[in-house]
């Protein structure tokens, strides 16, 4: 029994990591750079959608500041890799090869970003989650806006190793490029790291959903008063879900910051981005992990498909959102996972 449950826990991780290695080996030779970029975008959006689903889908709260936590993680990771590279290696070139010191620095930066984002989630979530659900929506939006203003007020990015060595920690942490954005970050994000983190996110979310903690999350969503009455500490659990989601958003931010062809600036990570993630969660199904994955994939590919009529993209999204809420309020998959659908079981 013991062995089987251990295997059950490790097998999905092993499969995911193997897939990540396979993608890494195939990138560059089998997969053209354009598709590599697209696959990385999909992976990052999957992390964002699945993590926001913990708050909006599982727990039934309403956060519209996910991009804010992404920004916290992205900037924190950026500071670590960019200024860390200067201090450790003297320059910010991406080292050749796989799993170099630079890669480790980058992963450390992402994890640091996740911790910082989770901390921010705690600070934002604790006061507002004590109150009625929709206050969280306003506070998260307000948090994103405050963060944007603060980031726009930061100083220019330091360009040379001498400047970085002379500057103190305080200067480094506030030299984030202001409204122009944090430019010059080394492109460490590759398919391997994206899909390693996607695997971790998915395993955590799925195991959570079918655990007692996940059931408690769902009970808050179904009926908060009843959940409280049967002994669920609703405030503590809401904060826990929120902090967890913010942490994963921080990782997604770190990956986004070091991805080729993206720009880490305060405007990019505004509420528009948060709304994009909310749309993924809602379309996929509130509380369905595989639904969120599916929606993230479709909504990342859709703009590419609609390239010719990009001006209609947002009106179509908006209309789809409204119609979905009226005609199928639980989202495409609802609470169920894709392998639990009736039409598959027959």
């Amino acid at each position: 029994m013991m062995a089987r449950s251990f295997l059950g826990a490790v097998a999905p991780l092993a499969v995911g990591f193997a897939l990540a290695v396979a993608l890494h080996l195939a990138a560059g030779s089998l997969i053209a750079p354009f598709y590599v970029k697209l696959l990385m975008d999909i992976g990052i959006n999957v992390i964002l959608a699945v993590s926001l689903n913990l708050v909006n889908g599982f727990t039934g709260q309403f956060s519209i500041g996910h991009a804010g936590f992404m920004a916290v993680g992205g900037y924190a990771a950026g500071v670590i890799t960019y200024y860390g590279s200067f201090l450790l290696f003297g320059n910010t070139h991406v080292a050749e090869g796989w799993l170099t010191g630079g890669d480790l620095l980058f992963v450390g930066g992402c994890l640091f970003g996740a911790v910082l984002a989770a901390l921010a989630g705690f600070v934002v979530g604790l006061p507002s989650l004590r109150l009625r659900g929709d206050y969280l929506a306003i506070v998260t939006l307000g948090f994103g806006e405050i963060l944007r203003v603060l980031l726009q007020r930061t100083g220019d990015v330091l360009q040379t190793a001498e400047q970085v060595e002379k500057a103190g920690v305080g200067t480094l942490a506030t030299s984030l490029g202001g409204s122009l954005g944090f430019s010059g970050l080394p492109y460490y994000t590759d398919l391997f790291w994206v899909y390693v983190f996607v695997t971790i996110t998915l395993v955590v979310a799925l195991r959570l959903k079918f655990s007692s903690l996940g059931r408690a999350f769902l009970s808050i969503r179904e009926n908060e008063i009843a959940a409280e009455a049967v002994g669920v500490n609703t405030t503590r659990l809401k904060v826990r879900a929120f902090v967890l989601a913010a942490g994963f958003a921080g990782i997604a931010g770190g990956l986004f910051a070091h991805e080729i062809g993206t720009s880490l600036n305060p405007r990019e990570l505004g509420f528009q981005k948060s709304f994009d993630v909310v749309i993924m969660v809602v379309l996929g199904g509130m509380g369905s992990v595989s639904g969120a994955v599916l929606a993230a994939i479709v909504l990342t590919l859709l703009p590419e498909a609609l390239r010719g009529f990009s001006e209609f993209r947002m009106p179509i999204y908006a209309l789809a959102l409204i119609l979905m809420m009226i005609l199928r309020p639980q989202g495409l998959l609802g609470l169920r996972e894709i392998w639990e659908m009736k039409w598959l079981k027959r």
Partner: protein, 308 residues
């Protein structure tokens, strides 16, 4: 002293606009208990409809001085248009969800908001170019009080806004319809048992709120003639601040929304004038968080115990 009075004057002018928008948020929240995210877009629509009407009527040429009634006409037309839009939104998007969980309604509201923004940006409507609102009120200084010049735009703007708020106050607290609105807001189910046509009252609430937002849009365009494209972040931020005003005053409370509007504007402008002009958004949202922590129901709101 002059700086203080000038800031106070600006604060009242901007605050009256925030208050007008906040009223729409608070009335909808009072009756349906959800944040109408699309409300700020109705405000933007009001500004753009006013612009379009002014151009169509031929007041765009510089140097033309339209009569005062032209401004009034455009104001009323914009209010009517947005009132109709508000009615339609409620009828098509929100009414089917009357019994749905609040989260779904909230998401629908975001959907409506995105729809209004992005349809407004299509080239058949207002396009993606920022425009300049023609001046309908001649910009002259009416008088000087203690070194502060009173601009006609500010005086007429704040005057119109305050007059509209007085009308609303009368409507809600002195008429039968207002009593029905208050009854629906107090308890929808019991109100319908008492023979009140709840659907009609809710529709009327949306029409009222949307036309007030349109008036705010018109007055805003008079004061700040540079109109951003409909989906621009500054608009969303403005609407958000008005919502913060409603929350601070006590959401669901009409007088609270007016109070909150003036309070937010004064804090924002005094902070900008005396502390740092770059952090004005931060003052507003910090006040929001402080109020939520200390007095979650808002300044004039009363907290209601949840019945099981």
């Amino acid at each position: 002293m002059t700086k203080f009075l000038q800031t106070l004057m600006d604060g009242v002018a901007v605050g009256s606009l925030y208050a007008l928008i906040a009223l729409g948020y608070t009335m909808v929240y009072g009756t349906l208990q959800f944040i109408n995210f699309a409300h700020s877009d109705v405000f933007v629509l009001g500004a753009w409809v006013s612009y379009t009407l002014a151009v169509v009527l031929g007041y765009a040429a510089s140097g033309s001085h339209p009569p005062l009634w032209a401004g009034l006409l455009i104001l009323v037309a914009a209010m009517a248009t947005c009132g109709a839009v508000g009615f339609t939104i409620e009828r098509l998007a929100y009414r089917p969800l009357r019994q749905a969980p609040r989260l779904n309604v909230l998401i629908t509201a975001i959907g409506v908001s995105l729809l209004l923004q992005n349809v407004g940006q299509l080239k058949w409507f207002f396009g993606t170019q920022p425009q300049r609102m023609p001046s309908l009120i001649e910009d002259r200084v009416l008088g000087t009080v203690a070194g502060v010049s009173m601009h006609a735009v500010d005086v007429i703007g704040a005057g119109t806004a305050i007059a509209l708020m007085l009308v609303l106050e009368w409507l809600i607290f002195r008429t039968r319809l207002g009593r029905a609105m208050r009854a629906v807001s107090h308890d929808t189910a019991v109100a319908s048992l008492m023979g009140i046509n709840v659907d009609a009252v809710i529709s009327f609430t949306f029409v009222l709120g949307s036309s007030l937002a349109a008036a705010a849009g018109f007055l805003y365009a008079m004061k700040y003639p540079g109109l951003n494209q409909p989906a621009h972040a500054t608009w969303v931020l403005l609407g958000l601040k008005a919502f913060v005003a409603a929350v601070i005053g006590g959401i669901g409370n009409v007088r609270g929304a007016m109070l909150g509007g003036f309070l937010i504007a004064l804090i924002e402008l005094f902070g900008a004038a005396y502390l740092s002009p770059h952090l004005r958004d931060i003052y507003v949202f910090s006040i929001l968080i402080i109020v939520l922590l200390v007095r979650p129901a808002g300044i004039l709101g009363t907290s209601v115990a949840e019945k099981v």
